[in-house]
């Protein structure tokens, strides 16, 4: 590790400990690190957007390559800024209408295909057979229907409907449980990554 890397990693280690200090209680070190992250992130993203959007989608096409039709989307973008004026804010509606119109046209069919048709097809079209795959399919159908029944509030959950609804809540709880376990794994991974980083840094610094 070079001296430069050692210094940079030292700063990273210090900031990591600053953030961890919040676990004890709020303090100036945590506040400093938190605001530094927010400031750096905002600055970085602003410049990134300038270079990846404004430069090559507005400045270069119009002023370097003479593709004047790029003025139209640029104007639509500028019209969005009229939202800041009460008098002229109506102009922004044209940009918003254009944006929503385009995105609705593009999105509605693929959303339906991805989230509805393909999912329905997978639930309905697979045959229930007398093996593990069939049992899995049976459980999926039972779980989907009972979870849906749990959210059906037009009739009181009594008798058969009450029983199915109870199965539904167990299905939902199993889903939440799986999600919780995986979330814990994810959060621990974040902690572990920082602990490994600190360990590696201190090993380099002090030897070991």
């Amino acid at each position: 590790m070079t001296t430069g890397e050692l210094i940079l990693n030292g700063i990273a280690a210090f900031l990591t400990l600053c953030i961890f200090s919040f676990l004890y209680r709020d303090n100036p070190f945590y506040k400093f690190a938190e605001r530094l992250v927010a400031g750096v992130a905002t600055g970085y993203w602003t410049i990134l957007l300038y270079h990846t959007n404004f430069t090559d989608k507005v400045i270069e096409p119009i002023f370097v390559y003479g593709q004047w039709y790029y003025i139209i989307p640029s104007l639509l973008g500028i019209m969005m800024w009229t939202r800041f004026s009460r008098k002229w804010s109506w102009i922004s509606r044209y940009s918003i209408a254009f944006y929503i119109g385009i995105s609705s046209g593009v999105s509605i069919t693929v959303y339906l295909y991805t989230y509805l048709f393909k999912q329905l097809q997978a639930t309905i079209a697979t045959p229930i057979t007398f093996d593990m795959a069939g049992l899995n399919m049976f459980l999926i159908v039972v779980a989907v229907l009972s979870a849906l029944v749990y959210f059906f509030f037009s009739t009181p959950h009594k008798g058969v409907l009450g029983g199915i609804s109870k199965v539904g809540i167990y299905v939902i709880m199993i889903g939440f449980g799986a999600g919780f376990g995986l979330t814990v794994m994810g959060r621990v991974a974040l902690l572990v990554q920082r602990v490994i980083f600190l360990k590696d840094y201190f090993v380099v610094l002090f030897g070991g």
């Binding site: 993203w45 999912q119 995986l182 814990v184 621990v188 572990v192």
Partner: protein
């Protein structure tokens, strides 16, 4: 006050301290944890493994440094596998803080495998608005990315000769920590129909298994455990496998706390019920 009442009133900072100490143990005494490979992870490995030399694979690295703990191991394992098999790799990032991180990973792994930028792989860079970028790449990679991350026009890169859009790649693997997985499902797999697999954070995993069952995804690498499984398959042990020892200790402590708090909760609740106090 009895011990169970004390457990119910324990300061949460003692729990933080216990977890903190728990994850320090493997840092001092490291040990290996055997991993069992899941079918959904194996399917991605098999998919990449059966590709021929010089076939194209598209890797989307759609996460920020805040998620690198879970996702970097899987990104590195997949790129390692692709480079080892002499596949052509096209890489993109749709995460705003991704470019620097992806550049570091690709450069390092390329150097390890003696791969040349622009010849064996291409890093397209970053564009905002994932849906628009994915739709545009489905037409031609050159629409959203006339040049690669380093400013070299795509047409002048040998690796991009004869490759136009997703129709020319064998499959797409998206490694993501956010809703870009949905964008790839909707505007990628849904619109263009290419084979899609995802590597995701543990938090997201439970939400995406239904797409595996429906065939919209051919594989999922869930969280750091999935990453460890993939590293095991590829034969490049990395941070994923290293983290498993820490995960085992941390999870054991968390499970212990859950059991303790539940025992204390039910015991004190029963006592309060008898006293007419009702549930807590």
């Amino acid at each position: 006050m009895k011990i169970l009442d004390k457990i119910m009133l324990i300061d949460r900072r003692w729990i933080y301290l216990a977890i903190g100490l728990a994850v320090i143990i493997p840092a001092i005494w490291s040990f290996e944890v055997p991993v069992t490979v899941s079918p959904e992870v194996k399917r991605i490995y098999d998919f990449v493994d059966q590709l021929e030399q010089n076939d194209y694979i598209f890797v989307a690295v759609d996460y920020d440094p805040s998620s690198l703990a879970e996702l970097n191991p899987m990104t590195e394992a997949i790129i390692n596998q692709a480079f080892a098999k002499n596949l052509k790799v096209v890489i993109v990032t749709l995460a705003q803080f991704g470019p620097g991180m992806v550049e570091e990973i690709t450069s390092r792994l390329a150097a390890n495998h003696q791969k040349i930028r622009g010849v064996d792989y291409c890093f397209l860079g970053y564009r905002p608005y994932p849906a628009i970028t994915i739709l545009a790449m489905g037409v031609d990679f050159r629409v959203p990315f006339p040049a690669d991350y380093y400013g070299t026009p795509l047409d002048s890169l040998p690796v991009m000769q004869g490759i136009k859009n997703f129709g020319d790649v064998k499959g797409v693997i998206d490694l993501t920590a956010g809703n870009t997985a949905d964008f790839w499902l909707i505007y990628g797999n849904g619109r263009y129909g290419f084979p899609l697999a995802i590597g995701i954070t543990g938090v997201m995993s439970a939400d995406y298994y239904q797409y595996l069952q429906s065939g919209q995804l051919f594989g999922i690498i869930p969280g750091v455990k999935g990453a460890a499984e993939y590293e095991d398959l590829v034969g490049f042990p990395g941070r994923g496998m290293e983290q498993m020892a820490y995960q085992v200790i941390a999870h054991s402590v968390i499970i212990l706390f859950i059991i303790m708090s539940n025992v204390a909760y039910f015991a004190t609740r029963t006592k309060k019920d008898k006293m007419g106090g009702g549930a807590l």
